[in-house]
């Protein structure tokens, strides 16, 4: 039967209310009525809603669907399958007006014994509703799913069921018939009707209750606030522990959900919702996925800010000391970046140290040195992370517990990958409190050695059944292609090519090294002058070094020993070694061993060397009884005398190492262990302002620092536009690096006209031509003022606008005062205007000319010197749509121009660009 929509103008007390009935199948009979309020963002009734309606219908309810948005014809047909009445009404009065409208069409429910009011604000049901309805009906006259004490005790209105006793009461009729929503605010509707409904029914002595009360939840979870919305805060425990059938839609589409109760110190994390729903029910999660995809697509098309992003992973790194655990983490992070493209940031437990490892980590992402943070800074970090949608914390040491405890507020899984064997002594590196935190909260422990697993279980007095072993891994070295016969290092050059090199790694800090190793060397080298020792990792400033040197001299083997500090132990050294000796049990040398393993170098160690057992089992080396120096010497001499055997071992060992210990082998295994705790397919909406960052680069030695600072913006809604001066000596390398580091960045290599101003005008033209949309533009350049002694200070001040700790403050400044047009460094907010004679200290003639030419009329001549600041995009757009930036650029001076000898267009524009904002009625704000 074809639907003939019936249009109504229903006279209410004051104003006519319009609604359309699309479908009304009076033939359906049931004593159960469901009034379902819906609103579709896209005009389509989502499949998850149809699923919900079907579930209600299966419980014998006649459904009246009242929509406050336009419904497409195709959707009406779908709705007809479950709904007897389909109404489209104006979007006013929230759900209560919809239910009222539906009730009125159904004789105020007087023909029914059960009435359910519900809406499309939840996904579900994850369980059949029948048993819940049956049980709850027996207990209560009016019941819902959850309650709270916000304003007053009330049942939350997304699902409320009424019995005949209530329906037939005068309170019912008075409530619904007297409901007036016209012109009433949202807050007032909630107060009067959502809260008011429960209050009125309680006052009428009806028995009211809920499926899972907030009191029960608080008791169960240890929380203390009963004025929050339980399906938001306790969504996970509701589903997991209380067989709760719904998940609030708001949790997944709101961009601010994580901080909905931040003022009450409650952080909501929806991490892993897909897995929770899938594990606890047979609900088709794809219905939610499809809805979210369409929803974000739709809202994204009308709101340029709205994007979706994957959840961030926080990697906690013990320090930036060059050790196995740090190197393995670095390899893993590089792999994650390469293979997964997930957002992540790094928190280092220790204080800031500038070294090679720090630089490598900074290249990968934002790095925070937790050890150096003050209390205030820690709070700021918490504030920032609370808006980052974190999905997982991964720590590379159990000793990172302080940082992990700090991150506890995020309520995300925390996985520890332990390397170091700090648990070998009787003393614990952790306090009792930390120990107990790890015991209770570490979601998963992964270890790099088998013995560490036993020690950890012993140490914590807990048997982590799921402790998995992922051995240390390393990357395939590029330098493997080099000739193996290359001299180890320049100071080894001149040594005969037939020398047999034996490597030893010891820093002299280990016990017995100064005595035992020289003895071992003497035994090896005295009789065999073709055997040379390369001693890696030695510290020449160590107090024992002189004794050691003397001992070797006395033993007559001094000339056969070459000391190499660990940081110089590069590929060429590794390539030249034939055998590697490990005369110590208490050193973790996994990575050196792996690097040598990739080159096929066998190792000889003592039996029961804790770290070596896995490698021995794999067949990468030999073990002799503890302190059996003779045995060790014999093992080396065996290789020395059987070069053919050594050669065949080389290929075999290299193959074993490559097969088992490369990053590409172990990193995916490690990822598989994280995978149950981090769902790559989950996305979260991000509505943060879009910032276009326009950067001009001129110098050849400033990029690294700038890049590290800009890394922060990669996880934000940011567009990167770079102008590299043609005059930059490394422009080709920069273009390459920018393309690698900033995906989708737009790059220009601009001719050296007008210094940074010329670059910025070209970028403005590029930005406008590409029709990019952003809320703010940040102007930056690689400031260097070598002629000024405080040039470095200038640069740091100017660039504080891209310090991540200032990001929120800058946004707040703009959002709180719509008249703020530009935000920059307060130290550079200056005025050169002399009020008495109306002149400017510098570029006076040109400034007057430009102000006239571009019709800029202002009274405050403050400007941001240095042209680095945030500016509202609308200001730039308004001005430069009228005045072509490339036309302006064509008037700028060429080369590296200074304004010491007179006015220049470039320097005049440095000032006028700020006044473009002032001229539009905005003001400049320094931070």
């Amino acid at each position: 039967m074809e639907t003939v929509p019936q249009k109504f103008r229903q006279d209410n007390n004051k104003k006519a209310e319009a609604f359309t009935i699309f479908h009304n199948n009076e033939a359906q009979t049931s004593d159960k009525l469901c009034l379902f309020a819906g609103y579709s963002f896209t005009g389509e009734v989502a499949d998850y809603v149809l699923y919900y309606l079907d579930a209600i219908s299966k419980e014998g309810y006649k459904i009246a669907y009242i929509s406050t948005s336009n419904i497409k014809e195709a959707c009406i047909e779908k709705l007809k399958e479950t709904c007897f009445l389909i109404i489209e009404k104006e979007n006013a009065g929230l759900d209560f007006a919809s239910w009222q409208c539906g009730l009125k069409q159904c004789n105020w429910g007087q023909d029914y014994k059960h009435i359910l009011i519900a809406n499309d604000s939840v996904f579900g049901p994850f369980l059949p509703l029948g048993p819940i309805i049956l049980t709850m009906n027996k207990r209560y006259d009016m019941w819902g799913m959850t309650d709270n004490y916000d304003i007053a005790y009330h049942i939350q209105s997304y699902f409320v069921h009424f019995s005949e006793k209530v329906i037939k009461s005068s309170v019912w009729l008075i409530f619904w018939q007297g409901m007036e929503t016209e012109g009433v605010s949202k807050e007032e509707i909630i107060r009067r009707f959502e809260v008011g409904l429960s209050v009125k029914m309680s006052e009428a002595r009806f028995n009211i209750g809920v499926h899972t009360s907030i009191d029960t939840l608080i008791k169960s979870s240890g929380g203390g606030n009963n004025q929050i919305s339980p399906p938001l805060v306790y969504w996970q425990s509701l589903i997991k522990k209380f067989s709760f059938p719904f998940l609030k839609r708001e949790l997944l589409i709101s961009t601010t959900i994580s901080k909905a109760y931040w003022s009450k110190h409650i952080y909501i994390n929806t991490n892993n919702w897909r897995r929770v729903v899938a594990q606890e029910s047979d609900y088709p999660v794809k219905l939610i996925d499809e809805f979210l995809q369409k929803h974000f697509q739709h809202t994204g098309s009308t709101n340029h800010r709205l994007k979706t992003k994957q959840r961030k992973i926080i990697f906690v790194c013990e320090s930036v000391q060059d050790s196995d655990s740090q190197r393995v983490l670095l390899s893993f992070l590089e792999w994650v970046k390469r293979e997964k493209s997930l957002p992540f940031e790094i928190i280092i437990s220790s204080k800031k140290v500038s070294n090679e490892l720090t630089d490598q980590l900074l290249t990968l992402g934002l790095v925070t040195f937790f050890g150096g943070l003050s209390g205030v800074e820690k709070n700021e970090l918490k504030e920032r992370l609370s808006a980052e949608s974190v999905g997982l914390v991964f720590s590379n040491a159990i000793e990172n517990v302080e940082v992990q405890q700090y991150l506890d507020f995020l309520s995300v899984p925390q996985v520890v990958y332990a390397h170091a064997s700090l648990f070998d002594g009787a003393t614990s590196p952790l306090t009792e409190a930390s120990k107990s935190w790890v015991k209770e909260n570490a979601t998963r422990i992964i270890v790099a050695t088998r013995s560490l697993k036993e020690r950890i279980n012993l140490h914590f007095g807990k048997n982590w059944d799921e402790i998995e072993l992922i051995p240390a891994f390393t990357d395939e070295p590029n330098e493997l292609n080099e000739e193996h016969s290359l001299p180890a290092h320049h100071y080894l050059s001149g040594i005969r090519k037939d020398i047999f090199f034996v490597g030893i790694c010891n820093s002299l800090s280990e016990r017995m090294s100064a005595e035992l190793i020289p003895a071992l060397i003497a035994m090896l080298c005295k009789e065999n002058k073709s055997i040379h020792i390369i001693w890696l990792g030695v510290d020449a400033s160590h107090s024992l070094f002189e004794t050691l040197d003397n001992n070797l001299y006395k033993a007559g083997v001094h000339d056969q020993v070459h000391f190499v500090s660990s940081n110089r132990a590069g590929a060429q050294i590794f390539n030249s070694l034939h055998v590697f000796l490990l005369p110590s049990n208490d050193v973790s040398l996994s990575l050196i061993n792996l690097k040598l393993g990739l080159r096929g170098v066998p190792f000889v160690c003592f039996e029961n060397s804790e770290w070596a057992s896995e490698y021995l089992e794999a067949g990468m080396g030999k073990a002799v009884p503890y302190l059996d120096l003779n045995g060790m010497v014999k093992a080396v001499l065996f290789y020395y005398q059987n070069r053919d055997h050594l050669q065949s071992e080389k290929d075999r060992i290299a193959a074993i190492t490559r097969k088992n210990y490369l990053t590409d082998i172990q990193a995916p295994r490690l990822w598989d262990l994280l995978e149950p705790h981090y769902d790559e397919s989950e996305v979260v909406p991000d509505n943060s302002p879009v910032v276009a960052i326009l950067v001009h680069i001129f110098y050849d030695d400033t990029w690294k620092e700038l890049k590290f600072k800009l890394n922060f913006f990669k996880d934000k809604n940011a567009q990167f536009l770079f102008s590299i001066s043609e005059a930059c000596l490394i422009k080709e390398d920069l273009v390459k690096d920018i393309r690698t580091s900033f995906k989708n960045a737009y790059i220009l290599t601009t001719a050296n006209i007008g210094k940074d101003i010329g670059g910025k005008f070209a970028l403005i033209d590029f930005y406008l031509s590409l029709e990019l949309e952003s809320d703010y533009i940040i102007f930056l350049h690689d400031k260097q003022s070598p002629h000024s002694l405080i040039g470095e200070e200038w640069k740091n001040n100017l660039q504080k606008i891209i310090e991540y700790k200032n990001y929120n403050q800058i946004l707040r400044t703009f959002e709180q005062d719509q008249k703020v047009g530009i935000v920059g460094a307060k130290e550079h907010l200056i005025s050169e205007y002399d009020n008495t004679n109306h002149t400017f200290l510098n570029n006076n003639d040109k400034i007057h000319e430009f102000l006239r030419r571009y019709n800029i009329s202002i009274t405050n001549y403050e400007f941001f010197g240095g042209t680095m600041y945030w500016v509202r995009t609308s200001i730039i757009r308004t001005f430069f749509m009228k005045h072509n930036p490339m036309e302006i650029r064509s008037e700028l001076e060429a080369g590296n121009v200074l304004d010491n000898h007179g006015s220049t267009n470039a320097h005049t524009w440095e000032r006028v660009l700020s006044w473009v904002a002032s001229g539009q009625g905005y003001r400049l704000q320094g931070i």
Partner: protein, 346 residues
């Protein structure tokens, strides 16, 4: 491939055809030439996006679809399309931009000059004024970087004689090391040209091996020469760049030295005053004197630190200069009598 080929896309705005990757000599990227058109300004977003994300190199040509250059094509709004020249994959040689201009009629010369002036203002200096003449067939045209021969784009089915003539002309025109311009209509035409190029290269390999070896050796040398030229340019840039700064620095340094002496003089004067009989030596004076001395001391230290900063900066910048430049500097000092000749050998 022995030679480098650049494809001039005659019908770029009609069919938007861009050839797939085509590896030419020395593994260089595919390069194309796009005729300049007012469409570039009109659909700037589309073409900027297309060319920004491209894996090929490109250059512009003032050659309107193979026909003669028109006045219209010269009035494209050069400022508006200047941004295209700044895309990193625009073909440049030693900082100059490749711009091909086809057959300029006398009455159009003024417009071409105007276009050049516009580009100059944006810092865009075309490589050569010795422009090509693609339209004027069958003459072979050459400039410093590009070479066009109508035999390459000839529709005739190629023969050995065809290849032989082409190669002989290339040698005669000294074109072996230049970008060979191949005019392409669309995909079908490109495939035909591609086949021609492959066959031509094969013919060269089989029949002109000695020439090719000689050519490759020449190319290597030429590349080295270019590299040296480039290095020289970079150095010149650095010297030019810091010249002004050094002047300023000298001024600043002088001010610091004067300040240093002034403070010293003031300090001496104060200490002499304190020795004058009857001079108030009460405690307040002692205290204020102490503070004043401390302040002067601080100022002195700050000036000293500044001086060191200047020296550090100078040393750093000086370090960056190549050794031969520094040596050259010493030679000049000798010539100026500021240094002995012998000292150069110490």
């Amino acid at each position: 491939m022995f030679f480098s080929y650049t494809f001039l896309l005659k019908s770029f705005y009609e069919n938007e055809f861009i050839p797939e990757s085509f590896s030419t000599a020395a593994g260089t990227k595919l390069s194309i030439i796009i005729p300049v058109s007012s469409d570039l300004g009109k659909y700037k977003k589309k073409y900027l996006e297309k060319l920004n994300a491209a894996t090929f190199n490109f250059a512009f040509a003032l050659t309107p679809s193979g026909s003669n250059l028109t006045t219209q094509s010269l009035n494209v709004g050069w400022n508006a399309i200047s941004t295209f020249f700044f895309l990193p994959n625009y073909i440049k040689k030693g900082g100059s931009y490749l711009l091909i201009v086809d057959e300029v009629l006398p009455n159009q010369q003024m417009l071409v000059n105007q276009a050049e002036r516009h580009l100059h203002k944006q810092g865009i200096f075309p490589i050569s004024k010795n422009y090509l003449n693609v339209a004027e067939q069958p003459a072979n045209q050459v400039n410093e970087y590009c070479y066009f021969h109508n035999l390459v784009s000839s529709q005739a089915s190629p023969s050995t004689d065809h290849y032989s003539r082409l190669f002989a002309d290339m040698v005669a025109d000294k074109a072996l090391n230049k970008q060979i311009i191949v005019v392409v209509e669309g995909e079908e035409d490109f495939n035909r040209q591609k086949e021609f190029i492959i066959n031509f290269e094969q013919w060269v390999y089989e029949n002109q091996r000695f020439y090719i070896e000689l050519f490759l050796a020449y190319k290597r040398n030429n590349d080295n020469l270019l590299e040296i030229k480039n290095e020289n340019k970079k150095l010149k840039f650095r010297i030019d760049n810091y010249n002004d700064y050094l002047l300023l620095l000298r001024k600043t340094a002088k001010w610091h030295v004067d300040e240093y002496h002034r403070i010293h003089r003031e300090k001496d004067m104060l200490s002499q005053r304190s020795n004058v009989p009857g001079f108030d030596r009460n405690e307040n004076y002692a205290s204020s004197r102490y503070n004043y001395d401390t302040e002067i001391q601080k100022e002195l230290e700050s000036v000293k630190a500044s001086r060191e900063a200047i020296l550090d900066w100078y040393k750093k910048e000086y370090e960056l200069l190549p050794l031969w430049y520094k040596r050259f500097g010493h030679v000049i000092k000798v010539m100026m009598g500021k240094r002995s000749f012998k000292s150069l050998y110490r």
